[in-house]
């Protein structure tokens, strides 16, 4: 099962490497990782997507919690949650393709953020599978470059991850 684990981390040198190191050291895999400081500059928020059975995920969260720099942690996939990923994609856009790509972008509620005579740069946010579908719809042969941020997320409702 795919899990999204969000955690608050001391914003200190080496803290991120402890988290990443834990995954390689214990043979856990990281599908994606996002990290940035929070409104409290002493804390970073990290979101990791990983895949494993319940037993493995339990071990991952326990070991993450054991890291001294990890302040708080939540497995977002345990409850209902919102997940988003941002993608910037450059596609070939010439001739009749230009209109077609514009239409597809609108359907996916993306935005064309840069234009040349032959290329569109498109920005799209959504759950990861929506971004996948967009790339499928555009077709491999038109895609020139893809930059994705990896998943970040937040739980629905009143629950918050804070100190």
């Amino acid at each position: 099962m795919r899990h999204i684990i969000s955690l608050l981390l001391e914003n200190e040198p080496g803290a991120l490497s402890r988290v990443v190191g834990l995954f390689s050291q214990r043979n856990y895999n990281i599908e994606s990782l996002t990290v940035a400081p929070t409104e409290d500059r002493t804390l970073s928020r990290l979101t990791i997507t990983t895949i494993g059975d319940d037993r493995k995920i339990e071990q991952i969260t326990k070991h993450l919690n054991k890291l001294i720099d990890v302040v708080k942690l939540v497995d977002l996939t345990e409850g209902s949650h919102i997940e988003r990923e941002l993608m910037l994609v450059k596609v070939k856009a010439t001739g009749a393709q230009r209109a077609e790509i514009k239409r597809t972008t609108d359907i996916f509620r993306g935005q064309i953020v840069d234009v040349t005579s032959t290329v569109y740069s498109i920005q799209l946010t959504g759950a990861s599978d929506k971004l996948d579908s967009f790339l499928d719809a555009i077709g491999n042969s038109s895609v020139l470059e893809v930059a994705r941020t990896g998943v970040t997320g937040i739980s629905r409702g009143d629950k918050v991850l804070s100190l």
């Binding site: 040198p13 080496g14 490497s17 402890r18 037993r55 071990q59 326990k62 001294i68």
Partner: protein, 574 residues
């Protein structure tokens, strides 16, 4: 307020933390710190001959006293030499603080002379690490380091100190914090009462219970409570390799060590049990054998301070996260109050069954012909000569298992051994670390001629500080444990496990270092010469005992089987 340099603050903070001893080896990046050591007399520094030995000595000191071991090394090779000892302490959850010198802050990342990324290299084998950025932070960092190293599940902590931070010309106000609070680190204290109640109920209604206790009981200073619990219930107890001494070995309730080289009765009892109470253990692969076949009929009650140890390899039916002391205290109280009584009849029948297994006498030693000494007999002779009262450290190999099997540890913290990492070279430095902690005690290292050569240079350290450690070498002229596996699994092809022609004359060697050497080659002289060795109370004595090189350690778990699957001798298996 006092003004101190970074180097002075470091040493002063150690003193304020209660540190009496420090094991180390100097070098460029640590020289300001060494100068600060020179100018004080509160913290004693022991100069080793190799940084690996500094970590093992600090580790031995920590295991025997329960206090954190402290190490000081220089950057680069000094730091990397310490790595094996840090990993050894990490695997066995030993409290340790390692201070490593580092190149000047301005040079970090430039491949400077003797620069190595110590925080990076040690990251997977420390509980935590610090890189000091400002000298003013030193007191708080030292406080945090000791707090982290010694609380919860203990472990080593590294403090990497760039040289400029310790500059004697720059002085700062020094104040050592009395307490420390970290929002990201909390120590689990008491176990969940509901869970403990559940465990006690299952425990009291057990028909074939086993108490399986490990190093956590020793680390948590809970041996007394464990013994009370076991006596109150009348249940059989087994200890892991790390837990030896947690329960008094001479006690009739003790089944011996369990696991790969555990006793027949301990392993059989585990396999056929209906309730296993695991306390301060981690269901290590050297204990469980094939996890899928582990204790098929047992409910597992698991008490440990580290949540990540619980249900890691074997799923617990009743997990209890908490300090072993608090959980055992609560269990004892609940048992006293409980209306359920121990099922006396079933327990009697269980003991009958266990006595049947015990009658097999799996550790019986049969003397060889021709006055040849069996390695087991050497451990028995050490036990006799020390009246069971010694601190016994060991290295890794057959001699280690013989020591574990034949020295009957009566008290916790007497058995000093690298169980998790299995580090050859650990035993001798650990033994002198113990000797420094307890100058009047007997500290003996039971070793092999292979292992002892991994830290033999420490003979010089022992001369310098007058440490009368006893080294008993079970000399089988081979890497015996490797050879045993080659006998059993590789058709007796001794690939690089023998070196009889090139062994040093250990007696001459230790004499060259200024110590006493005694050679024993005949069974008929074993006891007497061993007595003589231990009678030399103020000297380091190296006892080189020629033992039967063909001997194997038994019982031995059969790979891929359950705990009841064991070889009992070269010709017999369960």
């Amino acid at each position: 307020m006092e003004l101190l340099s970074g180097g002075e603050m470091l040493i002063r903070a150690l003193h304020d933390e209660g540190v009496e001893l420090l094991f180390g080896y100097p070098g460029g990046a640590a020289l300001h710190i060494y100068d600060a050591i020179f100018n004080q007399d509160k913290v004693e520094h022991i100069l080793v001959r190799h940084e690996q030995a500094a970590t093992h000595a600090a580790d031995g000191y920590a295991r025997a006293t329960g206090k954190p071991g402290v190490v000081l090394v220089t950057s680069g090779p000094g730091a990397t030499n310490a790595i094996t000892g840090i990993a050894t302490a990490f695997m066995d959850s030993i409290p340790m603080v390692v201070i490593s010198g580092q190149v000047d802050s301005s040079l970090i990342g430039s491949d400077a002379f003797q620069e190595t990324d110590m925080v990076g290299i040690s990251r997977p084998i420390v509980k935590h690490s610090f890189m000091v950025q400002n000298a003013e932070d030193i007191p708080v960092i030292v406080k945090k380091a000791f707090y982290i190293a010694t609380t919860g599940r203990p472990g080593p902590v590294v403090i990497d100190v760039p040289k400029d931070v310790t500059d004697p010309a720059r002085k700062f106000e020094y104040r050592y914090p009395e307490t420390v609070k970290m929002r990201s680190y909390s120590v689990p204290a008491k176990g969940h009462t509901g869970q403990i109640k559940k465990a006690v109920e299952i425990l009291l209604s057990a028909k074939r219970p086993v108490i399986y206790a490990g190093g956590g009981v020793i680390q948590g200073n809970a041996s007394e409570l464990l013994t009370q619990l076991a006596r109150m219930l009348g249940y059989p107890v087994t200890n892991t390799l790390m837990g030896l001494g947690a329960f008094p070995a001479p006690d009739t309730q003790f089944l011996g060590m369990l696991g790969m080289h555990g006793t027949y009765e301990a392993n059989m009892a585990m396999h056929f049990s209906d309730v296993v109470l695991g306390i301060g253990v981690r269901f290590d692969d050297r204990v469980t054998n094939a996890v899928s076949k582990f204790c098929p009929g047992a409910k597992i009650l698991h008490v440990d301070i580290d949540p990540a140890s619980i249900s890691k390899t074997v799923a617990a039916d009743v997990p209890i996260v908490g300090s072993v002391t608090s959980v055992l205290e609560e269990m004892l109280e609940l048992i006293k109050q409980s209306e359920t009584q121990v099922d006396k009849k079933s327990i009697d029948m269980w003991w009958q069954q266990i006595e049947g297994w015990r009658a097999k006498d799996c550790l019986k030693v049969v003397s060889a012909d021709n006055d040849v000494i069996k390695p087991q007999q050497v451990v028995q002779a050490v036990y006799k000569a020390t009246k069971g009262e010694a601190y016994v450290s060991s290295d890794v190999g057959q001699h280690q298992m013989f020591a574990a099997q034949y020295y009957h540890f009566n008290k916790p913290r007497r058995w000093i051994n690298s169980g998790g990492l299995g580090t050859m070279g650990f035993g001798f430095p650990a033994a002198f670390g113990v000797q420094l902690a307890f100058p009047d005690a007997i500290s003996v290292c039971i070793t092999g001629e292979g292992s002892i050569q991994m830290c033999i240079q420490e003979l010089a350290t022992c001369l310098q500080y007058g440490l009368p450690v006893k080294i008993v070498c079970l000399n089988n002229q081979s890497l015996g444990m490797v050879r045993q596996w080659q006998d059993m699994q590789y058709g007796g092809r001794y690939s690089h496990s023998t070196y009889a022609e090139s062994l040093p004359d250990f007696v001459k060697l230790v004499e060259a270092y200024g110590h006493v050497g005694i050679r024993i080659t005949k069974l008929s002289e074993l006891d007497q010469k061993m007595e003589e060795a231990f009678a030399l109370k103020n000297r380091l004595v190296f006892v080189d005992v020629s033992v039967d090189p063909s001997e194997h350690v038994y019982p031995m778990a059969i790979k891929g089987g359950s705990m009841k699957d064991m070889y009992l001798s070269k010709t017999e298996r369960t």
